[in-house]
């Protein structure tokens, strides 16, 4: 992901969490957030499929077809 985190992004994130932020603190935070965003992008790029509890897992396609009678 190429999207750059800005100081304003960092400030907004902190404000949403109820924190205040000063200039120096924001400067330190931006690189950390950039790394975090890159790591998250790496996860998003993985093919994870559905991995929830078995009881919630979508039925196999054959079963779905069976429901519709074809």
């Amino acid at each position: 992901m190429d999207q750059q985190i800005t100081r304003e992004d960092a400030r907004s994130s902190l404000i949403r969490a109820g924190l205040s932020a000063s200039g120096e603190r924001l400067d330190r935070l931006v690189p950390g957030l950039q790394i975090a965003r890159a790591a998250a992008a790496a996860l998003a790029a993985l093919e994870m499929g559905y991995s929830g509890p078995a009881s919630f897992r979508a039925p196999p396609l054959a079963d779905v077809q069976g429901i519709h009678g074809n």
Partner: protein, 463 residues
């Protein structure tokens, strides 16, 4: 009686106590004298409960004299990281925020230790709120490494590493969210086991990240780790993540060796950038395991590169969630490195946190099939570096410490660190062995077999 009672193992001391050749009173006095003599240099303890420990020791001695011996922890002095509740004692978490908190009741781990007859000597120093791997704490000061007091112990269970390695107590209870039991064990030259997620109750512990927190013991050898784990493991309805899995008799199978056990050595990630001294000690440990009959093979660790980012995406938002009121109301009372990590946690989008949790589920299934379907254990160096000087330990040090340990927090598998050598500067190096979920027995057995053919754990720091 020997003058160096504090260097006995738990197993040795237990035999003497059971035979009434050693009184818990003498053992506790020996440890308290050691604390008095050395803790000014080591800074391992936050609160010493000397009077309470002496009262409990006399009670244990009376009980044993009356024929009511409870087992191998009866009369054994232990201490707990200062995020385990100890009834009537402060639980500061090494933080100004919790400085005035006094626990009303024992944590489940504390309760089980006491029920087994262990004597609580006090609470131990840590990285502030357990959110850091160096053990450098601006409020309590750093715990100092017994092998060189100018160096870090590693953390976050820093005081446990220092106290056990220096003979101030026989076992230290730690917690491990990204490596915080195994890192101080490795850097201080002792054993430390992170059991399977859910194996040991976290009730009564200050949480850092409830999806990743594990509790476990640091001891001077593997046999002692097995003894302590036996006592603290098992279901507790008070911890929602607590498992109902049966707890086997760890000591009973400890001597069965590693012959024909398949040990996987990752062919990438885990040895990228490892210091030469650490790498040499690790490779020699592999040779010794092979000499014991283990079958070694290399494997490619699935999704290793994504693991640190996923761990951070779970740990930091959860840590912020717990500490958010402190961050809003008293941020200036939080140390700079911890405040920075909590701010990062505050800024994670919910989707990234959830994505990381999904990744974790996928990761567990992948490792269950592709890794632990083929091998019994994974072996790595515990840390990439040995203990750094306190005044040179920074963020890069932290990354070097947690890189090899945090995958097993995400996976939730048991993992132990045992000493496997020393650097040229005389600082300990750790071997990490990780096993299948709820198979602590195999992890302990392999570590015990390795320990039995080395003398690293019998060396004592130059205090």
């Amino acid at each position: 009686m020997a003058t160096d009672l504090h260097w006995l193992s738990i197993a040795e001391a237990a035999q003497l106590i059971e035979r009434r050749e050693l009184s818990p009173v003498d053992l506790v006095d020996a440890c308290l004298e050691r604390v008095e003599a050395l803790d000014g240099r080591l800074n391992a303890f936050i609160t010493v409960l000397a009077d309470e420990a002496r009262v409990d020791a006399r009670g244990a001695a009376d009980e044993i004299a009356n024929g009511s011996y409870r087992g191998p922890l009866h009369g054994i002095p232990v201490a707990l990281k200062d995020i385990f509740a100890v009834a009537g004692a402060p639980m500061t978490a090494g933080s100004l925020i919790f400085r005035d908190v006094v626990s009303e009741e024992d944590s489940e781990v504390t309760r089980r230790l006491r029920a087994a007859g262990a004597i609580v000597l006090g609470t131990l120093n840590l990285h502030e709120i357990a959110l850091g791997a160096t053990g450098i704490n601006p409020h309590t000061g750093p715990a100092r490494n017994p092998w060189n007091t100018g160096h870090i112990t590693g953390g976050s269970s820093s005081g446990a590493g220092a106290a056990v390695a220096a003979g101030l107590c026989f076992a230290g209870m730690g917690t491990d969210t990204g490596g915080s039991i195994r890192i101080p064990a490795a850097l201080c030259g002792i054993a430390g086991i992170k059991p399977t997620f859910g194996r040991v109750s976290r009730r009564g512990l200050l949480p850092l990240s409830w999806s990743l927190d594990h509790a476990g013991p640091l001891t001077r050898n593997v046999e002692d780790a097995a003894i302590v784990l036996q006592v603290i493991a098992g279901h507790d309805a008070g911890d929602p993540a607590s498992s109902r899995a049966d707890v086997p008799d760890y000591s009973a199978t400890l001597g069965e060796g590693v012959r024909h056990r398949r040990i996987g050595v990752p062919d990438r990630y885990f040895d990228d950038g490892v210091d030469a001294d650490v790498q040499a000690a690790f490779r020699e440990a592999l040779r010794q395991l092979e000499g014991l009959g283990a079958e070694l093979s290399e494997f490619s660790p699935p999704h290793a590169d994504e693991m640190p980012g996923a761990l951070a995406a779970i740990m930091l938002p959860e840590a912020f969630t717990f500490h958010q009121s402190a961050m809003r109301e008293r941020p200036e009372d939080i140390g700079e490195d911890v405040r920075y990590r909590l701010e990062l946690g505050a800024a994670y989008p919910a989707a990234e946190y959830i994505q990381a949790l999904r990744f974790r589920e996928m990761l567990v299934e992948t490792w269950r099939e592709e890794v632990f379907g083929e091998i019994d254990l994974v072996a790595t160096a515990t840390t990439m570096v040995a203990a750094r000087p306190i005044d040179q330990s920074d963020l890069s040090t932290t990354l070097s410490l947690i890189r090899n340990t945090n995958p097993f927090n995400l996976l939730g598998t048991p993992a132990i660190s045992v000493p496997c050598g020393f650097t040229g500067d005389g600082l300990p190096v750790g071997l990490q062995l990780a096993g299948r979920w709820f198979d602590e027995a195999t992890v302990l057995r392999a570590a015990y077999a390795y320990e039995s053919v080395t003398d690293w754990n019998s060396r004592r720091p130059p205090l």
